[in-house]
């Protein structure tokens, strides 16, 4: 597979890219992993337990390193990020995001809600980097549901992605209003968010990058109010064999090349493609969500464009 060819290059570049991050984030990263170690007294479902390695794309790396490497990837694609998403989704990730948000129907219409109820929804958009989902949520709440109170907290592990989001927010009506907030946080450890405080937790194209997906889902469960919803939009498994073959060929061979042309950063894109391939199937991921205690609607997910992406949801029992 073409994945093997640029290995050397990949390792060199990623480590180089990660170095400045290591300096900046090392204390936080190490304390994170110590905290993980403590948290994991509850039996983690991951077979990785006890081993100190994890996957970085198809490479196996030390867990502590993955966070840095992922950080490096997103730092290096932060500004050309939309182009990457366009390539991976055959140009339709914007439609998926629109659908994702419209379907969740965020916001509380003051005209049809009981007056005593609390105003607006409290939304947490994890791995929200560029604010793509957050702006859509706020637009939907305002224009569709006449709701001027729904607020979104955008959390991302990567300061460069957050900076990009803050920059874009300036072009929206929400900059410097209480409706939009940015925080730097690791999805696996959301200490700054209190228990049972969130109506809707969203994560779009983010969860496949997390080192411990199960820990992130458990954190989601903790911060959600009873009745609150976990919603995840992510690349998934194409369910038609022929389409799958075509799409894989496209994603493995074409995209890294195009990535190199548009962003002169072949390796970051290579990582992105491989991380998609590694992500659990629709049913496996649905079961992980159930495992954390969520109720799942219907079969648990909705396929988009033949399964290139899927939306998974879970509802915390009341």
């Amino acid at each position: 597979m073409s994945a093997q060819i640029p290995k050397q290059l990949l390792r060199r570049q990623l480590l180089a890219g990660g170095r400045k991050k290591v300096a900046r984030e090392s204390s936080r990263c190490f304390s994170c992993s110590i905290r993980h170690a403590q948290q994991q007294t509850a039996p983690p479902k991951s077979p990785r337990e006890g081993s100190a390695t994890t996957h970085f794309g198809f490479e196996t790396v030390a867990e502590a390193l993955k966070e840095q490497k992922v950080g490096a990837v997103f730092s290096s694609v932060a500004s050309s990020y939309d182009t990457m998403n366009d390539l991976m989704s055959l140009g339709i990730h914007r439609l998926w995001k629109d659908h994702f948000v419209r379907n969740l129907n965020p916001g509380r219409n003051p005209l049809t809600s009981p007056p005593n109820a609390d105003q607006g929804w409290n939304i947490l958009d994890i791995a929200g980097g560029t604010g793509d989902i957050a702006f859509r949520m706020l637009d939907h709440a305002s224009t569709i549901n006449n709701d001027a109170h729904t607020r979104v907290t955008v959390a991302d592990i990567n300061a460069d992605m957050l900076a990009e989001g803050r920059k874009r927010a300036l072009q929206s009506p929400y900059a410097r209003t209480p409706r939009l907030k940015f925080v730097e946080a690791n999805a696996e450890n959301l200490d700054m968010i209190s228990d049972a405080s969130i109506d809707l937790y969203t994560v779009a194209f983010g969860i496949r990058n997390f080192t411990h997906k199960d820990a992130a889902i458990r954190e989601a469960y903790r911060v959600l109010k009873p009745g609150g919803v976990f919603a995840c939009l992510e690349f998934s498994k194409v369910n038609n064999a022929l389409f799958d073959a075509v799409y894989k060929r496209w994603s493995f061979s074409a995209i890294p090349l195009i990535g190199q042309l548009v962003a002169s950063d072949r390796d970051s894109y290579q990582y992105l493609v491989e991380s998609i391939e590694r992500f659990p199937s629709q049913t496996e991921f649905r079961d992980m969500i159930r495992e954390a205690g969520f109720l799942v609607p219907g079969q648990g997910w909705e396929d988009l464009t033949g399964g290139i992406a899927a939306i998974h949801k879970g509802v915390k029992p009341a």
């Binding site: 129907n105 965020p106 109506d199 109010k225 009873p226 009745g227 109720l295 509802v315 009341a318």
Partner: protein
């Protein structure tokens, strides 16, 4: 949940099947409300939200608002309505399923022993009574029922709505004590489905006292089938009537059809 799915498959299968094999069908799918205790038709959280939401339908219709209010009543949040992937259709479907299952308790015929030597109630009369009872169960939401019909007519919801109608017809013949396994089995269910649908639509426009005209309408349809024995005529009328009003409702909602 396996048995209902199985039933739905069977129903769909039989409509497709060209050779009539009622005996086999009954063996595989024999499954009716009181034959053995069944799992509850909806999981607890869904049932809690939907049953509360139904009580808001008279005021709010089969709408997202009714669903959200139901969720609140059940101790959930607005956002929890995401538990229902088909949204308002799940609300309509809940009403259909619950009212179908309620029939066996709401209508009770005397057993043969209880009837003694008096004149027996015929199967036809039982079918009429059951059908009427089911129609009357729509009374509290009848002013909202056109909305429900429009939702059921949407392309992705028409097949499950049709399957549910077939289950209702089957339930009615079963509760009426019909045990025939000949080819009339299909005709009976098909004509009853057609009659039920036509009457249901008629009822949404009926302003007569205590729905007297709906009752007359039902009797006239049943009489037609008895006289002419065919169900094609009734089917034509049903299609026409439902098609019309569903189209009108959708138009009133701004769809260009």
């Amino acid at each position: 949940m396996a048995p209902p799915a199985q039933l739905a498959n069977c129903v769909r299968g039989t409509f497709r099947a060209s050779s009539f094999r009622p005996t086999l069908w009954r063996q595989r799918c024999l499954y009716h409300s009181y034959e053995y205790s069944q799992p509850p038709p909806f999981p607890p959280a869904e049932a809690a939200i939907l049953s509360s939401a139904i009580s808001h339908v008279p005021a709010f219709g089969f709408t997202l608002d009714a669903l959200k209010l139901g969720a609140r009543d059940a101790g959930y949040l607005d956002v929890s309505t995401n538990l229902l992937p088909r949204g308002v259709f799940d609300l309509v479907n809940y009403h259909l399923v619950m009212q179908r299952l309620a029939l066996k308790d709401s209508v009770q015929f005397p057993t043969e022993a209880e009837q003694g030597t008096g004149k027996k109630i015929g199967i036809g009369a039982k079918v009429r009574t059951l059908t009427l009872a089911r129609l009357r169960a729509n009374e509290p939401v009848i002013h909202r029922w056109q909305e429900a019909l429009a939702i059921m007519a949407q392309p992705s919801y028409a097949p499950p709505s049709f399957a549910e109608l077939a289950k209702l017809a089957d339930e009615i013949w079963f509760l009426a004590g019909d045990t025939s396994v000949d080819t009339s089995w299909y005709t009976k269910r098909a004509s009853l489905s057609a009659i039920y649908s036509a009457t249901e639509v008629f009822m949404t426009q009926d302003t007569s006292k205590n729905f007297a005209e709906t009752e007359q309408f039902l009797d006239a349809r049943l009489e037609d089938v008895r006289k002419f024995g065919g169900f094609l005529g009734a089917l034509g009328e049903w299609a026409d009537f439902t098609g019309h009003s569903a189209v009108n409702v959708l138009r009133s909602k701004g769809l260009r059809i």
